[in-house]
Symmetry: C2
Subunit: 500 residues, 2 copies
């Protein structure tokens, strides 16, 4: 068998294993009875070891070299070899004992974090988090040496191939200079106008689920290749051609689940739209975490919190919950779902204040990985950052530096992708509307086909064929910058915006 | 590492893989969206190949020999080595090309069977079924040579370790001599008495599910280590400490789902009661298919179709569906749920006529594997057997020899375990009541603890420590015979029985 064909067959087998892991992970979060946790952990650990063994199989290096020397391959095959080399380089860089030590430290730290967060006790977490940080730093150093990157950039690179902190610094400094003043303006303008009318619950779970399914159908989710279920922490997971999103319901507030469903559906449409011919290959995967987050935020923030979508959705919401009166008018719903508030918790933040939460975390994790700040100073630095960026001070570490699982679970270098995704979403949606002017009007009729067609062509079907900058340049005419995102915030929330 | 410890660690890893397969298989039958079928098939095929590779790993033979020579091991460890050798002998016996050819033939034949059954067209299935049969025969020959067994006994041995057709012939001939006359008697006696009153539906699915869950709780299902879901064909599956049963609901008839749930719960209690210390080892598995079926039939037929259980359940059924009047009295329910009827379909058969369906299939599959009958004669032989054993003739092959998936899917040698299970259930339940006389009275109060304690001690916690005959002798005082089962049928259905 020629090297490329052999290599592709090998990675299709690895995908069959990754798909097994994806479904078992989904099951752990949605269906698994508690008492099965230990048995399941053993299954997942074994499958991950087997998958790692496949990617790092000694024959893979030779096959990559052989495939790279092969003539007559097309663009997709060349890009696939590039992505396989990328994977293989990173995964073979790490010694097994470092991977294992990190995995053990993370297990211990996650457990301690649940308790420490509940008790707002950072000192109790400190030694365990220090261990995770030190191992993440070592991982960053080892990978960075192989890739010619700083330790932080080497970690970032796992989530955002090609992403570099020098570039993110510039983008985030731009936003950080703009946001505090802008937030103040938005809040003042908001205070001058009448507050939106609250919706009266309770909103039964069955009706919320039915409405969520209806709206997933509206935006184009393919139920032949996916599902909607419930989990404590909403996510989009599953496997190739089997894309499973989750939500959680609050009977006092249906919008939280509904907007969450639209968010995860944005991720899911990306997964369902990956190129079928390469769906089991590395080049057929989503491009990066920032592009992934751009798809969820484009759907939730750009499309589904728009006046157009809410005009379409308002009568359907009324029908779902028997709502009536001025609180259920589209205009009031729009005010409710674009309300801005300063808060301590990232996952509850609105579109305007969210980037402040991310910029704070990005700056702190970069300093910690770079050994520029002692971990013991994290709570103080966190609170100072909150004051600078958002003008509020957390009363304790539970709603401060202990709120997220990312650091205890070893996810260092991930945070910036949220806000890169928000900026990417704005830039893509803007380009889509320029290219296909009927998009907003169609959304107002519940017709997402023109938007989805543009996303399918420009993002989803591209998989990992292009590097992120090239993907964005091809789709929008230029690489990522902050201007379109800022323009979007000004248009929707600025003092000139109507209804605010 | 000493050989036994190494061997046990190796088989714990194999169990982690088998548990992954179990959950993915469950998911395929309950949760998976249709469009994921191909991706899932690839995942399952790969995991099965990896599992087979682990069991047949070249080092296993040496480890078994090393462990067998080790001193100081206990009974469980010795039995575990015996079970591992059993597995390894069978799985290494088959050449890979025979396994693959059989798996391909089965895939083709299953597809053709769905169409052929719908169209009652046996000739269309014949060539594909002939291929499956021929490959099963070859598998039986290869395994049989290694084990010193006839081809049929070698196939049977996979489901029923130690099971032999000579013994089954004697047991089944005994039953076959008894059943046709007995069935006639039962039907005549039944006809002389007033028919039971029918229950008036519809019975909403949500209420059926709630009642099923309530009754699972009553008999002792552990929801911390299991679930109840819906599938087209009910089954008990999942993984170690994660036992998942399924049912399907018919709004016109709740008893079908409820009795099905009790049946699968019987399987599940066995799985949940396997010895924890050996739960991931071969010796910790269920003893055989006949013992497994004995646990489901003991729960469904012996316990839950009894007067005692129905006296307890009747008010709960009334409460679940708002039932009232004489049709909902325990005595009428008992008549309904012990009704005997001659029918063409095995899965719809009652306790009295079920063995006839099984004996027919057993005799036919033994003749076919033994090459004593041309496959083309199957429909005629089937219909002749139905006349002899049940006194009825199928109008076409759809409700005749095409009704079951077992043969098209390569499950030859499985059928006899159903009726061996029914006989074993009767013998175990009889021994349990002799040992613990309060069992029936406790069941009448909805207290299954005494019965479950006896089953836990005598069956579930024994795993595969003993051979089937030894397990039954230890629990009941003697190996399996047909007498207790016949006595049970006479007592419940005979002309002397009250209410019949």
């Amino acid at each position: 068998m020629p090297a490329y064909a052999d290599l592709a067959a090998h990675f299709a087998r690895a995908a069959a294993l990754a798909n097994s892991i994806g479904i078992l992970q989904w099951d752990s979060d949605t269906m698994m009875p508690k008492g099965a946790a230990e048995t399941r952990a053993e299954s997942l650990a074994l499958l991950r070891v087997l998958h790692h063994g496949m990617v790092c199989d000694p024959k893979v290096g030779d096959l990559i070299a052989g495939a790279e020397a092969e003539s007559g391959l097309g663009d997709w095959e060349r890009a696939n070899i590039r992505e396989i080399r990328r994977l293989w380089t990173v995964q073979t860089a790490l010694p097994a004992d470092l991977v294992e030590a990190s995995s053990r430290a993370v297990s211990r730290c996650e457990m301690a974090w649940r308790k420490a967060r509940a008790e707002a006790d950072f000192p109790a977490l400190l030694p365990l988090l220090a261990e995770v940080l030190s191992l993440q730093r070592q991982i960053g150093i080892v990978k960075g040496e192989k890739l010619g990157l700083s330790p932080y950039d080497a970690l970032l690179n796992d989530y955002e191939p090609g992403g570099r902190s020098a570039r993110i610094d510039a983008l985030f400094d731009d936003l950080a200079a703009f946001l505090p003043g802008f937030t103040q303006e938005v809040l003042e303008a908001q205070a001058r106008r009448p507050a939106p009318l609250p919706l009266q619950g309770p909103f039964p779970v069955a009706a919320q689920r039915a409405l969520g399914l209806e709206m997933m159908q509206v935006v184009g989710f393919d139920f032949e290749r996916g599902r909607l279920d419930v989990s404590t922490h909403p996510f989009c997971g599953g496997a190739d051609n089997d894309v499973r999103i989750t939500t959680r319901y609050d009977e006092a507030d249906f919008a939280r689940a509904l907007m969450g469903v639209m968010h995860e559906t944005g991720h899911a449409l990306y997964e369902q739209g990956r190129p079928q011919a390469m769906v089991h290959q590395p080049v057929g995967q989503a491009r990066s975490m920032s592009v992934h987050e751009s798809q969820s935020l484009l759907m939730e923030m750009q499309a589904c919190r728009s006046r157009e979508f809410l005009a379409f959705a308002a009568p359907r919401m009324r029908a779902a919950f028997g709502g009536a009166g001025p609180a259920w008018e589209a205009d009031n719903l729009y005010k409710l779902y674009t309300r801005v508030e300063r808060g301590f918790i990232r996952v509850d933040a609105d579109e305007v204040t969210y980037p402040a939460h991310v910029i704070l975390r990005y700056r702190l994790e970069k300093a910690l990985i770079g050994d520029e700040m002692p971990l013991a100073e994290l709570p103080a630095a966190w609170n100072a950052g909150m004051r600078d960026l958002l003008g509020i001070t957390p009363p304790d570490d539970r709603v401060g530096c202990l709120q997220d699982i990312h650091w205890p679970s070893g996810g260092w270098g991930y945070f910036p992708t949220y806000t890169l995704g928000a900026m990417t979403a704005a830039q893509l949606f803007d380009a889509a509307r320029r290219a296909v002017p009927e998009i907003p009007g169609a959304i107002a009729r519940g017709d997402f086909a023109p938007l989805l067609a543009w996303l399918r062509e420009n993002v989803h079907s591209q998989g990992s064929l292009l590097e992120t900058d090239d993907l964005l340049t091809r789709a929008t005419g230029r690489p990522l910058d902050a201007s379109v995102f800022k323009a979007h915030l000004l248009r929707r929330y600025g003092s000139e915006a109507t209804a605010h």
